[in-house]
């Protein structure tokens, strides 16, 4: 697989050595929000086709980082390269083209509350007019069936539980067949059983569709089995990024402190 840009860090070289290419690369990304520096020079490479989970204490800017990857936020300094294209330097129209590669499952699921579940999932298909209406009528129920919402198409978001909303959000994210899906804390607010079910669903969908997944999560240690890579954001920088199995063996005291007492730190 070809490389799109120069890679420098040991982790990035390790990604290449293992036969993966990097689909998103952040170079020295800095962002200040409300006068408060949030990202202070993030360097990160996201391997193509794998699930990478970004962990870190609350308020460290993980969701902000995710929003930079899809161009919802632009960095004050640094570059966000997707397939080698710097998102900060392209116009709205090109950014819209680039976003066709992406989908995002939001923390709140971000379903349109004026539409029912079926309409929510069908929405991107209807907007882009890539599929005929009879195909939508056939394809959307199939997708809802896959995420376990087979008979919920007529329900409105206000009638759904948190887990159902996440499932509907996942169906909407998957429906356009994106290359990259961003998951912003997909299990926040769910009970442990439902969180487990959502993780299993993400893993199953990843196996079926083969997208590149980037997940922000606090669910330690549950994220380790479903992630290929884990990166930790601390003090506005990537403190460590390793293969999921190796990450747990890192000797860095800050990493160990975070992953061994998730209840006290992650929930803070």
């Amino acid at each position: 697989m070809g490389l799109f840009f120069n890679l420098g860090s040991p982790v990035e070289r390790a990604i290449i050595d293992m036969g993966s290419s990097i689909i998103i690369q952040l170079k020295g990304v800095e962002k200040t929000l409300g006068g408060q520096p949030v990202l202070r020079g993030v360097d990160l490479g996201i391997p193509k086709g794998d699930i990478t989970t970004i962990i870190g204490p609350s308020g460290e800017g993980k969701s902000v980082l995710l929003k930079h990857m899809i161009g919802l936020m632009r960095p004050d300094r640094g570059q966000v390269l997707v397939d080698g294209v710097d998102l900060a330097k392209i116009h709205d129209r090109e950014l819209n083209e680039m976003r066709k590669k992406f989908a995002m499952l939001f923390q709140s699921a971000a379903l349109f509350d004026s539409m029912n579940v079926f309409e929510n999932v069908a929405f991107p298909l209807r907007e882009k007019r890539l599929v005929s209406e009879p195909d939508i009528q056939r394809y959307v129920p199939e997708m809802l069936e896959r995420v376990g919402l087979g008979k919920m198409g007529h329900k409105f978001p206000s009638e759904l539980s948190g887990g159902m909303k996440k499932r509907a959000g996942l169906a909407r994210a998957l429906v356009m067949g994106p290359e990259i899906i961003l998951f912003d804390e997909p299990t926040t607010g769910l009970d442990p059983l439902m969180a487990h079910a959502i993780h299993d669903l993400i893993l199953a969908m990843h196996k079926t569709f083969g997208f590149t997944g980037i997940m922000v999560s606090h669910e330690i240690p549950k994220i380790f089995p479903i992630s290929d890579w884990v990166a930790m954001l601390k003090n506005g920088k990537i403190l460590a990024m390793e293969r999921s199995n190796d990450f747990q063996r890192l000797s860095d005291p800050l990493v160990q402190e975070f992953i061994s007492v998730p209840g006290s730190i992650a929930a803070s």
């Binding site: 929003k67 899809i70 161009g71 919802l72 709205d92 819209n96 083209e97 976003r99 066709k100 992406f102 989908a103 995002m104 939001f106 923390q107 709140s108 971000a110 379903l111 349109f112 509350d113 929405f123 991107p124 907007e127 882009k128 356009m176 961003l182």
Partner: protein, 255 residues
Amino acid sequence: MNVIQGIGARVISQIEEMGAMLLFLMRSFWWLFRPPLRLFQITKQMHFVGYKSTFVVILTALFTGMVLALQGYYSLRKFGSEGLLGSAVALSMIRELGPVLASLMVTARAGSAMTAEIGIMRITEQIDALETMAINSLQYLITPKMVASLISVPLLVALFDVVGIGGGYVVGVKLLGVSGGSYWSSIESAVEWRDVYGGILKSISFGLIISWVCCYKGYFTKMSAEGLGKATTESVVLASVLILVWDYFLTSVLL
């Protein structure tokens, strides 16, 4: 020194806000002329801004026309000019009260709802969700509301004028005994196309002010319930004030 710094910071912040509002308007217009033309969204918004405001506009217009006739009758009677009551009511309605009061009612009813709707979509990340689907949120959410307001407000103003003149007729002719013939004929002789044209021009510009201010405040609302409440209040106050200020300037140009 701190006081001067504080004043300076406020002035800069206000200028920045004005610049942001202007850019928001220009970008919304830019997206208006790019495909797809969202006819369904425009129609839906016209139903909301226009049709659903008719009751409150009719009610306001009726009583405005009635009170105008009542006040006008007793003022004109002093000069023995009750026959001019129709023209007094009609000119007041068409030139000033129709455009201003109808627009203020639309601001209160539909403008606040626009801010709240867009603000909630911002807080619950629905606007971000649109953007991630490569759908421009300005084109999907804002431009249909602007187009709908530009079409609906002049129609509501026309309705306001007609109902207001009717209300004036009921009080002036039916209750106070002014001659029906003189009521209508004074309107016919006094109202010129220039008055109607001025009213239409005002109502179009007020429609733009309502949708522009209310959509802007919702689109850039702060991410909290308090922020949304503040944005809704600010949008109604700012739109109402702008309507009155712009009305003065437009009137001074049109007269």
